[in-house]
């Protein structure tokens, strides 16, 4: 392995972080981390869920103060006392959890904190024009500057926070899992912008759990494990994946999907007929059988999440949905849950988590009926179940009583899934279930989902990662512009074929 010594890299370093330590109550999130980023490079930060990546970049963004350690920018020690100070130093950050204000417009969000104003009056026209330019540069000219951010899809929000980072004229842009909410073509777009930035000398720190992305866009890689740097400046393109994974996890993980069942599937669990969500989904029909995993492939905005939400009753829709032959009341989630459905939503922070509550409370929220009689909770039973799920999902730290907001993103995601991994579910709707989950835990989640299916649960899966849909699902439905345009067993499809179908209006039927 080619190792770049630190002295050598010093000369061209834009950013150096040395011996950063950050202690939270009960957890040492960073335990002496070094990072060294050169101007014009894409520096990837890898590590398992809870390794300390987000904490490190929050230190860099001035959102956390390190206990010890120093930050050098262009060779000079700087103090990043708060986010404004970091921005002034030319560091812009796209956080893992979107931090946009839903009630404000796209333009207002982008220029929040650095409004273009004269005597306190914002210069709306200029802001709108600048916003339009930024969005066009990101390939999203269709988003209007005056739209309220709360109305955008998660991917749309991701684009807005990217535009915000670009609006700062930064020399270092930090991206914490920017691709987690993006579909394939959006990621291509993101990479185009990153290349554009780096060619102008801007450095990018890039965090992702998708290793193939690292290979495509990254220049060098730093690996964190349990709050420590275990490898500095590895070449991103030539280091073997197995090496990176074993550095991250300390073991060898096989990135494989669980085997599909050999026998047939059970009875029809879900039957959807002529489901229509005005303006988004037009008349889709499909079925899911017991034990079957059905994947929905499609672009962001194709209507795949909307189909799921409509089936679940979380969205106004017309059509007929039946679960085990019983009609589902559309628009009533409590009825859906009672008869055996469960939905793990796409956006964990806005749609999934009770941030003020403990991990246990978050996990048991949807199944309180199981731990109670006549509304009276059996807390022993509840806590035991929470503990079991924390173990089963390998949530770290494995303490059900921790406030969930102190968990890393990937671990929060596991808790959102855990909510539905209880007995009695007949149909699970999983929207981007592995969003932000690391490679090791991913393989375990896949196995878990397959095991549920083998026990007779029907699963409907949405994922922006085509390999995940193809690897985990038994049957794939391709969604485009609110319609199902193709349906085939997963084994008969390959990635290119699906991408063609997903994007092109004239697919090459194979």
């Amino acid at each position: 392995m080619e190792d770049i010594s630190r002295e050598q890299s010093d000369s061209s370093s834009l950013l150096q972080m040395r011996g950063i330590v950050k202690q939270f109550p009960g957890v040492r999130a960073l335990d002496g981390v070094d990072l060294d980023v050169r101007a014009g490079e894409v520096h990837c930060l890898l590590g398992q869920n809870g390794a300390g990546k987000s904490t490190l970049i929050k230190v860099l963004a001035g959102a956390h103060q390190p206990d010890t350690g120093e930050v050098l920018l262009g060779g000079e020690a700087v103090k990043l006392a708060n986010p404004t100070a970091a921005m002034r130093q030319g560091i812009a950050t796209i956080y893992q959890e979107l931090d946009l204000v839903d009630g404000l417009s796209v333009a207002e969000n982008i220029f929040l904190g650095h409004e273009q104003a004269t005597f306190g009056f914002t210069r709306r026209g200029e802001m709108f024009a600048a916003t339009r330019k930024l969005l066009a540069r990101l390939g999203h000219g269709e988003i209007r500057p005056s739209t309220e951010v709360g109305r955008l899809s998660p991917a749309g929000k991701q684009v807005v926070s990217m535009a915000r980072a670009l609006s700062h004229e930064a020399r270092l842009i930090v991206m914490d899992e920017p691709s987690a909410a993006l579909a394939h073509d959006e990621v291509t777009n993101l990479f185009r912008i990153i290349r554009e930035l780096t060619s102008q000398g801007v450095a990018v720190v890039y965090i992702s759990h998708r290793l193939e992305e690292i290979r495509e866009i990254g220049d060098r890689v730093t690996v964190l494990k349990d709050g420590r740097t275990v490898a500095v400046g590895l070449p991103a393109r030539t280091t073997p994946t197995a090496t990176v994974v074993s550095l991250m996890t300390g073991r060898n993980v096989e990135y494989v999907f669980p085997p599909r069942p050999t026998g047939g599937f059970g009875d029809e669990v879900l039957k959807v007929e002529d489901l229509t969500v005005p303006g988004v989904v037009s008349g889709v029909s499909f079925t899911v059988r017991a034990g079957e995993i059905v994947g929905l492939a499609g672009l962001v905005g194709s209507g795949r999440s909307e189909i799921m939400e409509a089936v679940y009753g979380a969205r106004r829709a017309t059509g007929k949905v039946t679960l085990n032959g019983r009609p589902v009341k559309l628009g009533d989630t409590s009825h859906s849950v009672r008869i055996g459905m469960g939905l793990a939503p796409e956006e964990r922070k806005a749609q999934g988590l009770l941030l003020d509550q403990s991990v246990a409370r978050n996990i048991t929220l949807a199944s309180l009926g199981r731990y109670s009689r006549f509304g009276w909770l059996n807390r022993k039973l509840e806590n035991a179940e929470a503990e079991r799920l924390v173990k089963a999902l390998d949530i770290r730290p494995p303490d059900p009583n921790r406030p969930i907001k102190t968990l890393s993103g990937g671990n929060q995601q596991k808790a959102v899934l855990g909510r539905w991994l209880v007995e009695g579910r007949k149909l699970l709707l999983l929207d981007e279930p592995t969003r932000g989950v690391d490679v090791g835990a991913r393989a375990e989640l896949y196995a878990l989902v397959r095991r549920l299916a083998d026990e007779g649960v029907g699963v409907l899966l949405v994922s922006s990662e085509v390999p995940e849909v193809l690897g985990l699902a038994d049957r794939v439905l391709v969604v485009r512009e609110g319609r199902i345009v193709h349906e085939a067993p997963a084994t008969e499809l390959d990635e290119h074929h699906v991408l063609d179908l997903v994007m092109d209006a004239t697919p090459s039927h194979g």
Partner: protein, 350 residues
């Protein structure tokens, strides 16, 4: 408390209540109970317990003859009982992400409805039931407007505040309605003592205990935190957010009905001027107790401690013969200080 508000429309009312409170006499000691309270509430409420203890010391110093007397303690608790019951309901509503401005007005309406000649003819039990039904009904109406009519809680309950007072005034023709001699049993809630305390203090204690149990030991309580903390997540987890919201306001109304029974017992009257500005005291108590106005967080015990702090301050001002305006200023300061202190402790905790 607000019984001595200078802006009151009918002055005799306030005097009457003060008289009833002053007349309350019984033997009891406050010290031991307070220490035990500190142990139950744990570190989270330590600040509030300390504040309460400090106020008690101030009371002992500034009014050595009157403060620590049993009669004063009993009247203090009786006063706290009325707003206390309302505060329990308010805590649920605020944790659930809402606000109820109509509590005082609903209590007044319930007290008037229960003391009309027609209702009084059926005896004290029916009077009490009437008050509770009226309170719950008004609360459910609030809840219906908010969850199914999609009105903002502030506006819906503001409308209810105005309308319920208006209705109470019409029903009573703005006169104070006395509880008749035949229904004296109702008044016995405040005159009968068990272990030195009037029955209504026990009612208060039971309501607080029930409130605590519902909030901490039932699925209803869990869902209340979820609905207030993240309504979208709650909905997607299969909670019927609308129905739950409606029930929360119904619960608040129910508490107002019970409070109406207590105030009828204490003052022997039903009146459209009862409970003026109680909503502010209840909301302030909840805030001082550490419940976030944004919902999803808070405790019953905190609210009750907040309320006791408020009640003791009022009491100290009255005992020291101070101006009611100064009292309002002091209360305002207490709210600000309490919230600032909580901010700081929140920040250091994370």
């Amino acid at each position: 408390m607000t019984e001595v508000n200078p802006q009151k429309v009918s002055a005799p009312e306030a005097d009457e209540q003060a008289r009833v409170e002053a007349a309350a006499v019984a033997p009891s000691g406050p010290g031991a109970g307070r220490l035990a309270l500190g142990r139950i509430t744990g570190a989270r409420h330590l600040g509030l317990v300390v504040a309460l203890a400090l106020l008690a010391i101030v009371g002992l110093i500034t009014a050595p003859e009157t403060f620590a007397t049993t009669s004063n303690m009993v009247s203090l608790l009786a006063l706290a009982a009325t707003i206390g019951v309302i505060t329990v309901g308010m805590t649920f509503v605020i944790i659930g992400g809402g606000i109820d401005l109509s509590v005082g007005a609903i209590m007044a309406l319930a007290s008037v409805w229960a003391t009309t000649l027609a209702t009084q003819a059926y005896g004290p039990v029916v009077m009490a039931i009437c008050a509770i039904v009226v309170g719950t009904g008004a609360g459910l109406l609030n809840g219906f407007l908010i969850s199914y009519g999609r009105m903002v809680p502030f506006i819906a309950t503001l409308a209810m505040l105005v309308a319920a007072r208006g209705l109470a005034q019409r029903m009573s023709e703005r006169r104070t309605q006395l509880v008749s001699q035949d229904n004296g049993a109702l008044v016995e809630l405040s005159t009968t003592r068990v272990l030195g305390l009037p029955l209504l203090v026990y009612i208060f204690a039971v309501i607080v205990a029930l409130g605590w149990l519902i909030l901490n030991r039932t699925t209803f309580g869990r869902r209340t935190y979820a609905v207030g903390g993240n309504p979208e997540a709650a909905r997607l987890a299969g909670i019927n957010v609308r129905r739950h919201t409606m029930l929360l306001y119904g619960l608040s109304g129910l508490c107002c009905g019970i409070a109406a029974v207590i105030i009828m017992a204490r003052t022997t009257t039903g009146s459209s001027t009862h409970g003026d500005l109680y909503e502010l005291d209840a909301i302030a108590a909840v805030i001082i107790g550490g419940t976030l106005l944004t919902g999803g967080r808070g405790t019953i015990i905190g609210s009750i401690l907040g309320l006791l702090i408020f009640t003791v301050i009022t009491n100290l001002f009255i005992l020291n013969g101070l101006n009611t305006s100064d009292q309002l200023i002091a209360k305002g300061l207490i709210i600000v200080v309490a919230v600032l202190l909580q901010r700081r402790s929140l920040q250091t905790a994370t």
